[in-house]
Symmetry: C2
Subunit: 270 residues, 2 copies
């Protein structure tokens, strides 16, 4: 796996797989996390492993909603941290907002491991003047940017609130994080919790590769795209800062466009 060259046509997919198997070995993930990732891989295959136009529109809309929010928050699970810790922290810095670790199968060990990993990455990012060189104007904004990175709080260690309508530990959350939020970005969320968050009146911004999932259908705005591919675009829009929320956003229509794209690719494939 370590020998895969960056020019390999499926490099991104193979690297994502590597990150997840390493995270599983390090105890960051629940048993079913790798299965969930594989399911996503298949839907991504049906998208041609590209960000489709409908997804690009959702990304812009979510950037606008996060920046207009009073209490924005990014909720992350094990797979999100394993795949995209750095860009999740960068997006939080750009909004700006905090990150709350909120996992389905909550154990103290996994919560500690995920929070530690995010804090470690935050520390590294807050010292990088121009991380990875992928951001053209990075150096111009680097002073303020480093401040923003340092200001991102990693919540979740001491949940003091509950999401109404959910049973057990998966309901636990932080008053200063998910509970008071008005706009919440939840990559890779489960359907039950997505529904419960919508029922609380929050604007739920989901990232999910399955356009037919309950999460995709119930969320206010859904990006049907691969997490590591769409986050750089979301970050770009957040740093740009000029996206305007569209109050008439039609998520059902957006999902229909994604399914049409999948139909087109599946029909052309054999």
């Amino acid at each position: 796996m370590g020998e895969v060259p960056p020019t390999h046509p499926r490099y991104a997919s193979l690297m994502a797989r590597k990150l997840l198997t390493e995270a599983a070995a390090a105890g960051l993930l629940a048993d079913s996390a790798l299965i969930a990732h594989g399911r996503g891989e298949a839907f991504d295959y049906l998208l041609g492993e590209r960000t489709c136009d409908a997804a690009r529109n959702s990304i812009r809309e979510i950037a606008g909603r996060l920046q207009e929010a009073d209490w924005p928050i990014i909720s992350v699970n094990g797979n999100a941290v394993a795949l995209a810790a750095d860009n999740l922290i960068r997006c939080a810095a750009a909004v700006p907002c905090d990150i709350e670790v909120n996992i389905y199968y909550r154990t103290p060990e996994r919560m500690d491991a995920l929070i530690s990993k995010l804090n470690e990455r935050k520390e590294v990012l807050s010292h990088e003047p121009n991380p990875e060189g992928w951001w053209p104007d990075w150096e111009q904004m680097s002073g303020e940017w480093q401040e923003n990175i340092r200001d991102v709080q990693i919540l979740g260690a001491n949940p003091d609130g509950r999401i109404p309508g959910l049973e057990g530990p998966r309901a636990e959350c932080c008053t200063e994080g998910i509970l008071r939020s008005d706009v919440i970005l939840v990559p890779l969320e489960d359907g039950d919790r997505c529904e419960a968050l919508v029922a609380m009146g929050k604007t739920v911004c989901a990232i999910d590769l399955n356009p037919l999932s309950r999460t995709a259908k119930k969320a206010t705005i859904t990006i049907v795209d691969e997490l590591t591919r769409c986050l750089p675009l979301l970050l770009e829009d957040l740093v740009d800062g000029s996206m305007e929320p569209n109050e008439d956003w039609d998520n059902e229509q957006n999902l229909r466009e994604v399914v049409s794209e999948m139909l087109r690719i599946l029909d052309d494939a054999p």
Copy 2:
């Protein structure tokens, strides 16, 4: 997971997931096995988690080919053993033929674990007069049947041959098993090895949920169906014994029919 009732609409899928996470914990599977399973889950979703007509035709064709073969063999990997050890042994008894364990990431520990598991299950099955009660005429044939079960050899521990055109340990196989076979049933095979087996002139019968995969396209006959769902049907056809091979089998056409079914389901879904 243990609390899922058999009446749950996704019972079979959840049980498959449980079998695989348990097998992973027991060291039977490679790192990427759960991801591969998840990918299959997504394609199965697109099939409506049903055996489509095209798959049913492939099952009949494969039953005919296995029974007409001079040296039939069933090649199994970790996922196949984890999901369907019993029905793979029953199918081998019905052909009759042997089973060879042949895994992509070969380690002595995993080979031992898989061969031991198959031998354990073979021992159990050879004492069951009417296993699980799902087979109506089981008792009538149980004497001969138990003999057939006992005659299934589990090969793979001492590979003494190589599949030409493949590098490394994944090429290793048994002269008395895969190497001399003329018809080979390979559930969940990887694309490289499928191609190499076809290049040897063998009739390759694949079981793969992705109709667009290299394995599905390169195999002589492909069953696009979930393993635990199609094996009871294959067993039924093998015990029936009246399936005739069709020398004009058009696998490309069969795959097109499967894709059409997926298109129909995807189009109806949202």
